[in-house]
C-alpha cells in the first residue's frame, strides 16, 4: 500500500468507522431477519485503505474459495459516496428462494416467473435490504443523506470473470469497508464491501470526528 493511502484515515478514524459499520450491518441483519426467518451471524467489520488498482485482487482473494459467486452491486451518493458490492457464495440465490418461499405471499407473486428470473429478483431483494439498511444507517449516523443507483445483479459466475481489473479508476485510492456474514439456516454466506473513494475522505474525516464528539 502506498504512503498516500496510509494517510487516508488515522487509526482512530478507522476504529470509529469499524464501530459505525458494525452498527450499520447489525441494522441490515435485523431488517433482513424480519423478512426471512433466519439469524444472520455477524462478524467484526474490517476497514482497509488501498490504491484502487489493488482492489480487484483484494476482493478476489476474499471470495476465491466460493469459485462461483452472485453479486448485487449498487452505487450510492451523498457526501458519503461509492459502490456497495454484496457478494454471495455459490448456491446462495437458490437457498434464499427456499427461505423466502416459506412466505406464501412471495410464492404466489412469483408463480409464473422462470427460476432464473426468480433467483435474480430474490438476490436483488435481499441485496436491497442489506445494502440499503447498511448504507442508510452509516449515512444517518454521520448525518448525511444518500441516494442510490438501481442495483445490478450477476448470478452464478466464476469470480475471476466478474471482478474486473478494469472496473475502477486507477488514479484513485479507496477505503474498503468489509463485513462477512452467514445465515444460520440454509447454506448462505457472503461479503459486503462498501468502497468509497478519496473524494469522500475529507468529509468523512470531519463526520467521524463529529460523531465521536457526542461521546467526549
Amino acid at each position: 500500500m502506498g504512503s498516500s493511502t496510509n494517510e487516508l484515515l488515522t487509526a482512530e478514524e478507522i476504529e470509529i468507522m469499524q464501530e459505525i459499520m458494525n452498527i450499520a450491518f447489525g441494522k441490515s441483519a435485523a431488517d433482513l431477519a424480519e423478512v426471512i426467518d433466519t439469524h444472520v451471524v455477524l462478524s467484526i467489520p474490517y476497514i482497509k485503505c488501498m490504491e484502487v488498482t489493488e482492489l480487484p485482487e483484494y476482493i478476489k482473494n476474499d471470495v476465491k474459495d466460493y469459485k462461483n459467486i452472485s453479486i448485487v452491486e449498487q452505487g450510492f451518493w451523498g457526501k458519503f459516496r461509492g459502490d456497495a458490492l454484496l457478494v454471495f457464495s455459490s448456491g446462495s440465490g437458490k437457498e434464499l428462494i427456499t427461505l423466502l418461499q416459506q412466505d406464501q405471499e412471495v410464492r404466489a407473486g412469483h408463480e409464473s416467473e422462470s427460476f432464473d428470473v426468480l433467483e435474480s429478483e430474490t438476490l436483488m431483494e435481499v441485496g436491497n435490504i442489506l445494502i440499503g439498511a447498511c448504507i442508510g444507517k452509516v449515512a444517518e449516523l454521520l448525518k448525511d443523506v444518500v441516494t442510490y443507483t438501481p442495483p445490478k445483479v450477476i448470478v452464478e459466475k466464476y469470480y475471476g470473470d466478474v471482478i474486473s481489473d478494469a472496473q475502477y479508476d486507477p488514479d484513485k485510492a479507496a477505503i474498503v469497508l468489509r463485513t462477512d456474514f452467514r445465515f444460520d439456516k440454509g447454506n448462505v454466506s457472503g461479503f459486503l464491501f462498501l468502497i468509497t473513494s478519496q473524494e469522500s475522505v475529507s468529509w468523512l474525516k470531519q463526520a467521524l470526528t463529529d460523531f465521536l464528539e457526542q461521546y467526549e
Partner: protein, 124 residues
C-alpha cells in the same frame, strides 16, 4: 464503597463511547476487557457489580462469555450492549441470564436508566 463496572468490548472506541455515557457523579470504578475471554477472566478476578457486554467479539463471543460468567456466578448482573439487534440474538442472551439488552449506538439517558434498573433489581 464505589461500585465496580466492567466493560467488555473488542473496540476501544466502543468502550470509550460507553464509558462516556455512564453518569460521572456516582464514583464508579471502571475496568475494561478486550474480548469475551478477557471479560470472563476479569469477571472472576474483579467480581464487578455490573458488566456491560458486547456480542460480536474475537477469541470468545459475548454469548460464550455470558454463559461462562453465569455458570461461575448465577447472580451476575450483565447488560448486553450490541449492534446485533435481531430478535433471535436478544432472545438468546436474555435466556442465558443477561439482565437487559441495549442497542448501539448508545444514548446517555438509556444507559442511566438501565443502570438504575439493574442496581434496583439487586437491592431488594
Amino acid at each position: 464503597m464505589s461500585k465496580k463496572i466492567l466493560i467488555v468490548d473488542d473496540s476501544p472506541i466502543a468502550r470509550k463511547m460507553l464509558k462516556s455515557c455512564i453518569p460521572k457523579d456516582q464514583g464508579y470504578e471502571f475496568h475494561e476487557a478486550c474480548d469475551g475471554k478477557d471479560g470472563y477472566e476479569k469477571y472472576q478476578e474483579l467480581k464487578p457489580d455490573l458488566t456491560f457486554m458486547d456480542l460480536t467479539m474475537p477469541v470468545m463471543t459475548g454469548y460464550e462469555s455470558i454463559d461462562a460468567i453465569v455458570k461461575h456466578d448465577n447472580n451476575a448482573l450483565i447488560i448486553v450492549v450490541t449492534a446485533d439487534v435481531q430478535m433471535t440474538a436478544i432472545k438468546r442472551v436474555m435466556e442465558s441470564g443477561a439482565f437487559m439488552v441495549l442497542k448501539k449506538p448508545l444514548k446517555k439517558e438509556e444507559i442511566a436508566t438501565a443502570m438504575s434498573k439493574a442496581f434496583e433489581s439487586r437491592s431488594g
